[in-house]
Symmetry: C2
Subunit: 325 residues, 2 copies
């Protein structure tokens, strides 16, 4: 195995977030489930957007946020994801490259527009996400440069990609290239509703392909269809090589075989917007992992990154994470 050109290569849905404030009444009026990610079509996106308060556009996408976080720690990152050659696609590409992440996936020149996620932030700092996948549905195996993938220590992907069938094929191609090159692969479960949609496939992946699994408490319980976090922990311990599980203010738990590391959450003065907490936890963890840190330290770095991102609006770090450790 040669030395890696990248620490982490991410594959994800390339999305521009449209963030706005909303109250609980707005959520019920529009049939939205607080804290979840719902897929919407273009017509629904237009209707919902028309009803929303003025917004702010910020590059997002779960894995894009993670890669921005890896770069903010000083890690070498690359990203694969599909935008359209439109204004929001240019914004997405600019913002990711400006963090220092290598992003060379060809933009779509036809078909749907760059993906948008309409994010409603309620006064309790919860975010409710409504994603129009648009151009993301065009990501496929042809976008996977196996040499590039094999040049990264870890390839990290979103469970959300399973919502775009060709993207799933792209991920499986990347995983094969990784393992052929002696690299590691990692996945986040993304969202409990996403787990319900693809439970069998995700369980199979965790058991047979994935080296590092990320998920939060709701997601891991959904994966194993159990009632308690403890039950989920025992189940995932048997399946996964390494699992890093987040529990909001309770911090995170990392399991590897019989080893268990419980790491408290980093302190936050005021939680402003929880968008990106899990994404940034993965960033810190993977930065640590690809720099030879022990698992408990990886989890601590994840917690620091998550704490930074929930202390302000938006899902990417505002401060250089390298300065916080």
């Amino acid at each position: 195995m040669t030395s890696a050109a990248f620490d982490v290569l991410g594959i994800g849905n390339a999305i521009v977030d449209v963030l706005t404030k909303a109250d609980d009444a707005f959520l019920s009026q529009h049939g939205l489930v607080k804290g979840s990610m719902m897929l919407i079509d273009e017509a629904r996106a237009d209707t919902l957007y028309a009803a929303m308060a003025p917004g702010v556009e910020i590059s997002g996408g779960s894995c894009g946020n993670t890669m921005a976080g890896v770069a903010s720690f000083g890690g070498k990152g690359a990203y694969i994801g599909k935008v359209r050659d439109d204004q929001l696609g240019a914004v997405f590409g600019h913002d990711l490259r400006a963090t220092g992440v290598s992003f060379e996936t060809a933009s779509a020149t036809t078909g749907p527009a760059t993906a948008r996620c309409l994010i409603l932030v309620t006064p309790d700092a919860q975010r409710t996400m409504n994603t129009y996948l648009g151009a993301c549905t065009g990501l496929g195996p042809n976008d996977i440069d196996t040499a590039r993938v094999g040049a990264a220590q870890v390839t990290y992907v979103e469970g959300y990609l399973w919502d775009a069938p060709a993207a799933k094929q792209a991920v499986l191609k990347a995983f094969d290239a990784d393992h052929a090159a002696g690299r590691k692969v990692s996945i986040t479960l993304s969202d409990s509703f996403c787990v319900h949609r693809y439970r069998d496939e995700f369980r199979d992946l965790v058991r047979n392909k994935v080296d590092i699994l990320f998920g939060n408490e709701a997601e891991i319980k959904a994966l194993y269809e159990v009632e308690t976090f403890e039950q989920a922990l025992e189940a995932v311990r048997k399946d996964a090589k390494i699992a890093a599980l987040t529990r909001s203010e309770k911090g995170s738990v990392v399991v590897k075989g019989s080893e268990t590391y419980e790491v408290p959450a980093a302190p936050v003065a005021k939680v402003v917007d929880t968008t990106g907490a899990g994404d940034l936890y993965a960033a810190g963890f993977l930065f640590g992992f690809t720099h030879g840190k022990p698992l408990a330290e990886c989890a601590r770095l994840g917690g620091i990154a998550a704490a930074e991102v929930i202390s302000h609006v938006g899902a990417r770090p505002e401060k250089a994470l390298s300065g916080l450790v």
Copy 2:
């Protein structure tokens, strides 16, 4: 004169802001003058954008910010400005309408893209603006519905519009319609460099057409080519019917003939980003003016709105201004 359908109708350059942080070294490296607004062409916009850190897109435009402020006070506003039928144009329209402002100007279907202003916020909270006017250059007299203009108590325009020759003609058409309908017209000097570009025309307007003049200390000194604020005050007193002049932390001064009102600035815990301070001062002032308030109270409302907008990043109010008075 019939009762007015709108309190304020604004005419301005319809711009989406791209906000990012930068240090003084970045400004010098790119030949930028801190605190000023510079017009740039598309190639320069692309070069500068490529060099910038990740940004946040927020609807802006000086007059658009003002109109959002008028609406936030509970005033009835309308806006005339030109975007392209592209993604950023849709963002601009959505955000303005979502504040409650009526915006019916037809989008351009050909020609340059929706205008962007690349705003660099330095650690001292100053903003340095680089504007690619794009579709704004397509605003012309045909976009002025004289009945709509005549239905507003006050028409408020940006001096910045003089940078687009057809837009200037649109403004003059609107001013004539206003006066024919017995309404008032108002202008902001916008920027001291803008004043240098159009000094003679602005002086003529102030003397002969404008009912309420807005400007800051640097702009009013530039208008009269004098060294001190006191000299400028005496000059504008002779020319303008009403002038409302802002002086940052020193508050504002309103003159009307021999009357002078000095109003202190509203307190601000921490100045985060001065973008939009003048725009929001005008919003508060015009809301007060169109609701029959005395001039000193108009200035106080302007100060409250300015204080809100400089306490956070972005040039439009985050809190409902109606709740702050």
